[in-house]
Symmetry: C2
Subunit: 134 residues, 2 copies
DNA sequence: TTACAACTTGGAGCCAACTCCAAGTCAATA
DNA sequence: TATTGACTTGGAGTTGGCTCCAAGTTGTAA
């Protein structure tokens, strides 16, 4: 059965990524060179959609395009268990997200404490936790 | 008792924000105009330090300088309970951070599932959750 | 008194990530 | 056949957030 395809306009609406940005991502090599019709127009497949979904997911977690790039080079339809490198990349990424969540949790704890205890806005040294040398 | 003050160099080391960046933040009005000695050199106080700590905290949670700006306009040493506007801003901010954490948690769930069940890298529609129109 | 270090300012440059635009091609339609 | 609309490309412009630099001032130390 033949897979459904999308024009760039449809694909932009589908994914929420603008046409300009799709072309830009292709130009910088983040997304693979899209398939073209005879007239040179791009068209996109379900696998392209899956790839963009992964892109958006990684982006939402705060990764730069540079960091996302290696994920975009992977086949979207392989069993993860068969490709150790994907497993490792995912584990790596998982650790990153967990780290970011720990940061956010720390911040939430501080805010919550301040809201409940009649305190000042200022942070005590121990609440700030930057990497500055003391 | 007289409060201790810092030169810009000391203050940069203390907070982990570079001298250039401190001057830049002042120039764009993110930080208030720093006090000057007779010779025109900036110096910083404990309250300045508190303000920068708050800045770094908000930044770490992914806020833009634009979003951080209103917080920098507030006095650092007032009791939060006395100023409803601060309470409201903090509550607002708390909701933002919680939202971001929910996003990250969703992403973690997807990754974890994929790592355990011999799946493909591709995301199912329900796992991606962008705001694109269907 | 001269040299040096620590600052000052204004402005230029830089990188990431878009966003916009002009000029051109192509297919379908009036 | 002329027009319209959806696309193409290359390249310029924009925004956010710094980062760097040159030229000038001031206070201390040799």
């Amino acid at each position: 059965m033949k897979q459904r395809t999308y024009t760039i306009k449809q694909f932009a609406a589908l994914t929420g990524v603008s046409e300009d940005t799709l072309r830009y991502y292709e130009k910088i090599g983040l997304l693979p060179f899209a398939m073209r019709k005879n007239n040179g127009h791009r068209y996109y497949s379900a696998e392209d959609e899956e790839r963009v979904m992964v892109l958006l997911c990684l982006k939402k977690a705060g990764m730069s395009l540079e960091e996302i790039s290696p994920f975009m080079k992977l086949p979207m339809d392989e069993d993860i268990q068969n490709i150790p490198v994907i497993r490792d990349m995912l584990l790596d990424y998982k650790r990153k997200v967990e780290g970011q969540m720990r940061e956010l949790q720390k911040i939430l704890d501080v805010i919550t404490a301040k809201l409940h205890s009649g305190e000042k806005l200022a942070l005590r040294r121990s609440e700030s936790n930057t990497e500055a040398k003391s």
